[in-house]
Subunit: 188 residues, 2 copies
DNA sequence: CTCCATTTGGAATGATCGTTCCATAATTGG
DNA sequence: CCAATTATGGAACGATCATTCCAAATGGAG
C-alpha cells in the first residue's frame, strides 16, 4: 500500500458543519465547502458522494456530538436539577454559534426522510436522558411531581432551540441566561 | 389613463411569503416566486426591484401581520394572563405553517442590516404589547410580581419561536399545546 | 529508486440562477 | 376604433451551481 497522507475525514466534516451551520444547505456552495474542509473537490465527492449526502453526514455527526455534550452536562450535576441547569448554561454559552440541528429543521421541516431518521434517533436518546434527570429532580423535591417527565423533557428541548434562535438573532448572553432561568422556573 | 387590470400587490406579496416561508431565501427561485405570486417576471422586478428587496418586503409585511395577530390575541382576554394564553394558543394552532420570522432569523442571523431594522422595529412593538399584559397579570395576581416584565416578554417571544420550530419539525398539536402550557407555568 | 494508490485542482459540462430585453397581449380612456 | 399604458412570458445574458474528467503531484511500500 502506498499513498499520500490521507486527509482527516472527521476534521473535514467539522469544516462542513461550520459552513452548513452558518449558511444552510442551499446557501453553501461546493467551493465554500472544500475551502473550509481543507480537502480537494475530488476527495469530497469520492468520500461523501454528493452535497446532500455530505449534508446528512454533517447533520448526523453534529447531532451525535451535540447529544453527547448535552448528556455530559446533564450528568455533571449531583442533583437532577443541577444537571438540567448545567445543560442549559452550556447552551447559553455556545449560543453565538449557529446550531445545525435548528438550521436543518427550519430549512427542510419534516420533508426529508434522510433527516427525519437522524433526528428521531437522536431526539429519542436526548429526550430519554433528560427525562431521567427530570425524574431524579422530582424524587429529590426540586421539580414538581405533577409534571409529566416526557412533556417536561420536550419543553426543555424546545427551550434549547429557543435560546439558540434568540442567540442567532443577536441576543446578548445576559438575555439568553434570563431565558434559561425562566425555563427552569417552569419546572418548580 | 388606460391599462390592463393592475395585479394585486398585496396578494402577490402573500404568494411570495408562502414561498419564502417554505423554502427560505436561497431555496426560492424567481420562477417559483412568479408562479406563486401570479404575476409576470417583469412585473416582479418592476414592482419590487430584485429578489432581495422582495424578500425584505415579504419579511416586513409578514412581520406586521403577525404582530397584529399577536396583539389582537393579547387583547382578546379580559385578564392579562388570558390574553397571553390566547396568543400562545393561536401560535399552537398555526404552527403547521412555517414562520418567515424564525426562518429569516435562522437563515441570516444578525448579518443583514435590512432585516435587522425590520426586526428591531417589530420586536419592540410586540415586546411592549406583551409587557403591558404581563404587568396586567401581575396586578391581577395571576403572574408572579417578582418577575421582570421585559424578561418575561422575551421569554414568551422565545417560546413562540420554540413552538414554531417544534411544529416545523413535525410535532403534533397536543405536543405543541403542552409546550405552551409549560411556558405559561413559568409565569406563576 | 520505483511503483502505485491516493489527493489535488484546473478545465469542462450542462443545468439553473437572477436579471434584462423585447415583442405581444390586454385593457380602458378618449 | 384608436391610443396609451401596463402586464406578460419567451429569449437571451453572464454568472454560478453541482458534478465529472483528467493530468499532475504526492509520498509511503517494496
Amino acid at each position: 500500500m502506498a499513498r499520500p497522507r490521507e486527509f482527516d475525514t472527521d476534521a473535514a466534516l467539522d469544516g462542513a458543519i461550520d459552513v452548513f451551520s452558518e449558511h444552510g444547505f442551499e446557501g453553501s456552495s461546493a467551493q465554500m465547502l472544500v475551502d473550509a474542509m481543507g480537502i480537494g473537490r475530488q476527495s469530497l465527492y469520492a468520500t461523501f458522494g454528493d452535497k446532500w449526502q455530505l449534508y446528512c453526514a454533517a447533520v448526523h455527526r453534529y447531532g451525535l456530538d451535540e447529544c453527547t455534550r448535552h448528556v455530559d452536562a446533564l450528568r455533571s450535576g449531583a442533583r437532577g436539577i443541577d444537571g438540567i441547569d448545567a445543560m442549559l448554561r452550556r447552551v447559553v454559552e455556545t449560543a453565538d454559534q449557529p446550531c445545525l440541528g435548528v438550521g436543518s429543521t427550519y430549512e427542510f421541516g419534516a420533508s426529508r426522510p434522510d433527516l427525519e431518521k437522524i433526528k428521531t434517533l437522536l431526539g429519542k436518546s436526548l429526550r430519554g436522558a433528560i427525562m431521567a434527570r427530570v425524574q431524579d429532580g422530582q424524587r429529590e423535591g426540586d421539580i414538581a411531581p405533577s409534571l409529566d417527565a416526557e412533556a417536561t423533557a420536550d419543553f426543555l428541548i424546545a427551550n434549547i432551540a429557543s435560546i439558540r434562535v434568540a442567540g442567532r438573532g443577536g441576543a446578548d448572553r445576559a438575555a439568553l441566561a434570563s431565558l434559561a432561568e425562566m425555563a427552569l422556573r417552569a419546572l418548580r
